[in-house]
Amino acid sequence: MAKKKTKKPADPHGEFRGQRTEADQERRIVIDDAARTPTVLYLGSGIFWLLVGSLFGIVASLKFNLPDWLGSSAALTFGRIRPAHLNTVMYGWASLAGAGMIVWLTARLCRIQLQLAWVHYLAVILWNLGVLAGTVAILAGYNQGMEWLEFPRFAGAMIAVGFLLFAASIIQTFRKRNVDHLYVSLWYILASMIWFPFLYVVANLGIYQGVIQAAMNWWYGHNALATWFTPIGLAGAYYFIPKVIGRPIYSYYLGLLGFWAFALFYNWNGIHHLVGGPLPTWLVTVSIVASVMMVVPVMAVAVNHHLTTVNHFRMLKFSPTLRFVVIGSMCYTAVSVQGSLESIRSFQEVAHFTHYTIGHAHLGVYAFLSMILFGAIYYIMPRLARWEWPYPGLIKAHFWMSTAGIGIYVIALTIGGWFQGVQLNDPAIPFMDVVEYTKIYLWARSIGGALMVVSHFIFAFQFVMIIKHAGPRRFAPALFRESAPMQREEREP
């Protein structure tokens, strides 16, 4: 990778070497133009699934509060709408929006127009049809029965083919690259192009039974995060934090250490979902050890991201992208350390089987991954659409509502879930008393969820506006406050 031996920092575009030439800018325009349609298609369909998925989420949450609400509708019963929520937000929103970010980022980092761009049209169609068919199937009662793998096999096959097409274009773009230096974000992207298809295909083969199927289920469930969703988030954070701040990443070598430690340990984590379960003890122990070892890559990434940010917190006042991405990267540190702790047996004895875990899951997928995706989209879209975000006030509303929403959600479920676990482990407390105790926290969860849902509609509205070049025309980047010191007069590509 970095060949020339220097302390030269990892540097996405050679900007820190003072090469901001007009030729560079023109090249960026050409590269962005080639990636425009595929990127917008991925992002747009991702946002569509975000709306659908978060509506499923809020309905599922309200059903805890009002169990008889919509009680006679089979398709909307909790046990169907909950997997519909998980699958639409993961395979719809996070995957498709992540794919959009990756398409744009790969072309930029390889400094070449997107190769095989046409396969993305096929990939977007297959992927969306797969998610649609799978979701309809779950609501109609055709659930495969395993968490994260509920989609029937034909829907899974469509998504797998879509992913392979998408990966083919990314790898081909990488092969034609115009740089000899591979930036950290690209490592994560390329690795996930190999990891995820293998994982997804093996998991969908359905060749296991009994407890080994449970092991396979959680090997998959956790590795979907390890091999696809977390790499998306980290690739984004590694790119946008230095990019917006205008400073190189703190340490290239920490990035290297972080990546390989991540690759080595994350794959072995899955069985910590079955602590205390009927599986060989050594198997669970192996996963706990690997989960604790995750502290190494997490700290490497944390040091890299936070020390890049640390003297530039002032910029969080201005840049929407930076604010979303920095919040996301902070939550990555938080959720990962929490995850390592959670895998330990004495901790799981309390937290397993409770709402605590649900809080943890949302801290990861929402406060870390989705926040970074929001930030990425706020950065990418004006460059592709050649139109600024028309309403900075709505970006602010999106930010505060989603942050407050996820904050309420995670805090409520963390506290409520923990004490739920403590009470479940006290045989003197009847089970129904524990259920009563959790009800107030489940209401707080619905309130937090509702805030997030509203913020998504605000976000989607503005996304439609920017694509249509609608709303007031602005000539400077949309910031939280005007006249930011680091912003130049006009938008650079």
Binding site: K3, N143, L190, Q209, G210, A263, N267, P278, L283
Partner: protein, 202 residues
């Protein structure tokens, strides 16, 4: 040089994911493959199997686990949820239904703990009939409303507030099968106990 680096990168990345699969799935599969079903464990009957598919279709596993924790880890025994589960209890299960949540109680031995068919049918029709304060969803589409019950129909006794006017509610095929499945959940037969690690070959 660049080629070698790329090759090492892709090889390393592939190796990490294959190692993870081998350790967490491949090797355990090989070790557990010789497990025999315990004598007390029966194969599912046709109706139990159908009931199990209703259990999956309605997503019961999102709130109910089917795994009893070992002694000294939680208080499952003190809650009378049964003896600790072992891998042999699951040899006929596909898909597995171990579950990850206990919004409701564990169901590994629900057939022992609550053996009343009437209780289960009423509870499925609307849980709050028999468990006030429950947050479990109702499943009325598993039942039928009829003007009068036939000779083989199981009528659900409903409080006035829930009873349809001039009609009776009887269990449909799905409700009956699901209840049969729930009543069959009995893993109280003896197994080689000890640690949950029972995979060693004899």
């Amino acid at each position: 040089m660049m080629f070698i680096r790329s090759f090492l990168f892709f090889f390393g990345v592939l190796a990490t994911v294959l190692l993870g699969w081998a350790a967490l799935v491949g090797v355990p599969d090989f070790m557990v493959s010789e497990i025999q079903p315990p004598e007390g464990l029966q194969r599912y009957t046709e109706e139990q199997r159908y009931g199990r598919s209703v259990y999956i279709r309605e997503g019961c596993m999102y709130c109910h686990s089917q795994q009893v924790r070992p002694e000294g880890f939680g208080v499952d025994q003190e809650r009378f949820w049964g003896r600790p589960s072992v891998p042999a209890d699951y040899v006929f299960d596909k898909p597995h239904l171990l579950g990850t949540m206990r919004t409701g109680p564990d169901l590994m031995n629900i057939g022992v703990r609550q053996s009343s068919e009437d209780w289960h049918l009423a509870h499925l029709y609307n849980p709050r009939i028999v468990v006030p304060g429950s947050i479990m969803p109702p499943f009325p589409w598993l039942f039928e409303e009829k003007l009068s019950a036939g000779p083989n129909d199981k009528v659900i006794t409903l409080p006035d507030s829930l009873a349809p006017k001039g009609k009776v509610v009887v269990a449909g095929r799905d409700a009956n099968a699901l209840t049969v499945y729930l009543l069959s959940l009995d893993r109280s037969y003896p197994v080689a106990q000890g640690k949950p690690d029972t995979t060693e070959k004899k």
